[in-house]
């Protein structure tokens, strides 16, 4: 069947974050793993319900901050001591207290930029098109609706059984989302 091969997943709609969390718990008990929840705002503890415990973002920020800080300190030391040494009143060439400010600023700058671009990269953004956008109801995800999508690639995914399971959750709505309209 052609439509089946293009099926992205089943999208369930909930009215609030509590029923969404309950839906996730049941789906996890059922053994589904390839799923994600979609909410208008960050719901506390939702990622843990989905079994997501790790975010690479802190490590990315740390990497950026270290690159900025060490790179900044090195750049100043290299230029002041090796590349362009000037003797000013007999002061030491490696006058490190003067280098603190720029080292600090570059630490923050690189940490922040790495974090921002890293977060987008980890999330796979920008991604202007996504199969979920084919479902008109999904527009409400940025307003007041909470969604759970069980993806068709989940090994436990079965067209009839999964649909029936999701119907039993008594959601506000249940939609099959296709990759192409």
């Amino acid at each position: 069947m052609k439509t089946r091969s293009l099926l992205y997943g089943f999208l369930v709609e909930f009215a609030n974050s509590e029923t969404l969390k309950e839906g996730i718990r049941q789906a996890r008990r059922e053994g589904f793993r390839k799923m994600d929840a979609y909410t208008p705002f960050p719901v506390e503890g939702l990622h843990e319900e989905l079994g997501i415990h790790y975010s690479p973002v802190p490590l990315i920020v740390l990497t950026g901050a270290l690159i900025g800080g060490i790179g900044g300190a090195f750049m100043q030391w290299y230029s002041a001591v090796l590349d362009y040494p000037i003797n000013i009143g007999g002061r030491p060439l490696n006058s490190w207290p003067s280098f603190v400010v720029i080292t600090f600023e570059l630490t923050i700058l690189f940490g922040g930029l790495f974090g921002a671009f890293g977060m987008l990269a980890v999330n796979g953004l920008p991604k202007p098109h996504h199969p979920l956008f084919n479902e008109p109801r999904f527009d409400l995800v940025t307003q007041d609706r909470f969604f759970l999508c069980i993806e068709a690639t989940d090994p436990k995914f079965d067209h009839e059984k999964t649909w029936r399971f999701l119907e039993n959750l008594k959601p506000e709505g249940l939609y099959a989302v296709h990759d192409l309209p």
């Binding site: 979609y38 208008p40 705002f41 719901v43 600090f104 700058l109 930029l113 977060m119 953004l125 920008p126």
Partner: protein
């Protein structure tokens, strides 16, 4: 004095009654997407536009004739340009304080004011940047300040506070922009989903980068948001510290002081809150946002303004004390010159604006009166500008040798540039509230999702 009834100690809520997710989205995005701009918007935008054109004209004339058209000369080589630079940079600080420090302190009331306060920061830093850039005289060589491989084989002078300032201010602008934009992404997605106009939908769609509110994404997003707040907090404290280094590292009497960094940071936050209040009070009236920017916000900001104002007042007193206690005749003369010299009336106006009038905020009655708070905020804005004028110009005009003293008078071009940046600020701000969500929609929803967070 009437007796205190329970009614007078009532603390207003941080969000008006009867709001749910949908009404919040509709109210905030409706300002941009559904409703026509009110006539006041056009008037204020027009004022800003005229100011911006004035600025453009003043700067073009400056490039044609050189900085001689300004009032600066020897001994006062830093006039309006640096005064306005420090003033604008300081104003930006409240935006970062609200968005970063209050986030780390879990102050839920920040959520409805952080967005436009951050926008204010960006525009204020933009206005600030214009001054040192054009004060250089040959602004097209500004990149000489940056470390880049060049055929001259030169490097920036790392030991100069002016170079530190370049790094501090440009980092501040970049991180503020990143923080603001990251915060905007989910709200831009909400705009994309609500916009009926095809082009608006496409533009907001591109700007929101395809945000779809996935739990995985929110997890990384929130982690980053807190980390950015953690990075922005020391950054904002460092920016005005580094600005104060421009003065303290020199030997001019009145500048060479270890007190400057905290004194400047407190003053920056003081003037910043004054500017946030100056913007928030008319905005909530104009767009009927009294249920989102409540009296609680106004009162909290008024209290913060009072608190930072007291630190600033304390600094004025310590400055005078240290001048006497140092037993240094030059330092002592700085104080005498401020209070009784040719610019004495500015000094007393400063004391009136920054030290005396804001004390009215101790009164609960004043803190319940929006018009009074607005007036005090305006006074503080003026006062903080006077403070920078006195620190910079009065110290420079009479330094060591009476033979090298001289007065500074701003010219019409100084005023045009200063007024022009105010116009640019107003114009940018009104463009912002016309095309972007001026209140963070998703963060407001978080407040009503967690009733256990004290809204009262």
């Amino acid at each position: 004095m009437r007796e205190e009834t329970p009614e007078t100690v009532y603390t207003p809520p941080i969000i008006g009654p009867g709001h749910n997710y949908r009404t919040l989205t509709e109210k905030i995005s409706g300002i941009v997407l559904d409703r026509k701009a009110p006539i006041e918007w056009f008037l204020l935008f027009g004022v800003g536009f005229i100011g911006s054109v004035t600025l453009l004209f003043a700067l073009i004339y400056l490039l044609a004739r050189g900085v001689g058209i300004w009032g600066i000369n020897i001994p006062v080589g830093w006039g309006f340009d640096i005064v306005n630079f420090v003033w604008w940079i300081g104003i930006g600080h409240a935006g970062t304080l609200i968005s970063a420090i209050l986030l780390l302190l879990h102050q839920a009331w920040r959520q409805s004011i952080n967005r436009f306060a951050e926008a204010m920061t960006l525009f204020a830093v933009t206005c600030a940047g214009i001054f040192p850039m054009f004060h250089m005289g040959r602004p097209w060589f500004f990149y000489w300040l940056l470390p880049y491989p060049n055929t001259m084989g030169l490097w920036p002078q790392w030991r100069s506070p002016l170079v530190w300032d370049v790094f501090a201010v440009s980092t501040y602008l970049t991180i503020s922009l990143v923080f603001w934009y990251i915060g905007l992404i989910p709200d831009l997605a909400a705009f994309r989903d609500r916009a009926r106009n095809r082009y608006a939908r496409a533009i907001y769609g591109i700007m929101s980068m395809g945000w779809r509110g996935a739990a995985r994404h929110w997890h990384n997003y929130e982690t980053l948001y807190v980390l950015l707040a953690g990075l922005a907090t020391p950054l904002v404290l460092s920016v005005h510290t580094v600005v104060s280094f421009d003065f303290t590292v020199s030997i001019i009497p009145g500048w060479h002081s270890t007190m400057f960094p905290p004194y400047f940071v407190a003053g920056a936050i003081y003037s910043g809150f004054a500017m946030v209040l100056t913007l928030a009070i008319p905005l909530r009236k104009l767009y009927h946002l009294e249920d989102l920017i409540t009296m609680r916000h106004i009162q909290n900001m008024a209290k913060l303004m009072l608190a930072t104002g007291l630190i600033v007042g304390y600094s004025y007193i310590i400055e005078a004390f240290m001048a006497w206690y140092s037993a240094n005749p030059l330092e002592r003369y700085v104080m005498i010159n401020r209070a009784a010299g040719p610019y004495h009336w500015l000094y007393w106006a400063l004391i009136l604006c920054n030290l005396v009038i804001p004390q009215a905020l101790w009164s609960r009655r004043v803190r319940n009166n929006v018009v009074a708070i607005f007036f005090i905020a305006l006074v503080v804005n003026v006062g903080m500008w006077l403070e920078r004028f006195i620190i910079i110009v009065v110290s420079l005009s009479r330094d060591f040798l009476p033979s090298s003293w001289g007065m500074y008078y701003p010219t019409i071009w100084d005023w045009a540039t200063f007024g022009g940046t105010i116009g640019l600020f107003i114009m940018l701000f009104f463009i912002f509230i016309r095309v972007l969500p001026m209140i963070s929609i998703f963060e407001m929803k978080q407040i009503i999702d967690k009733p256990e967070v004290s809204i009262e």
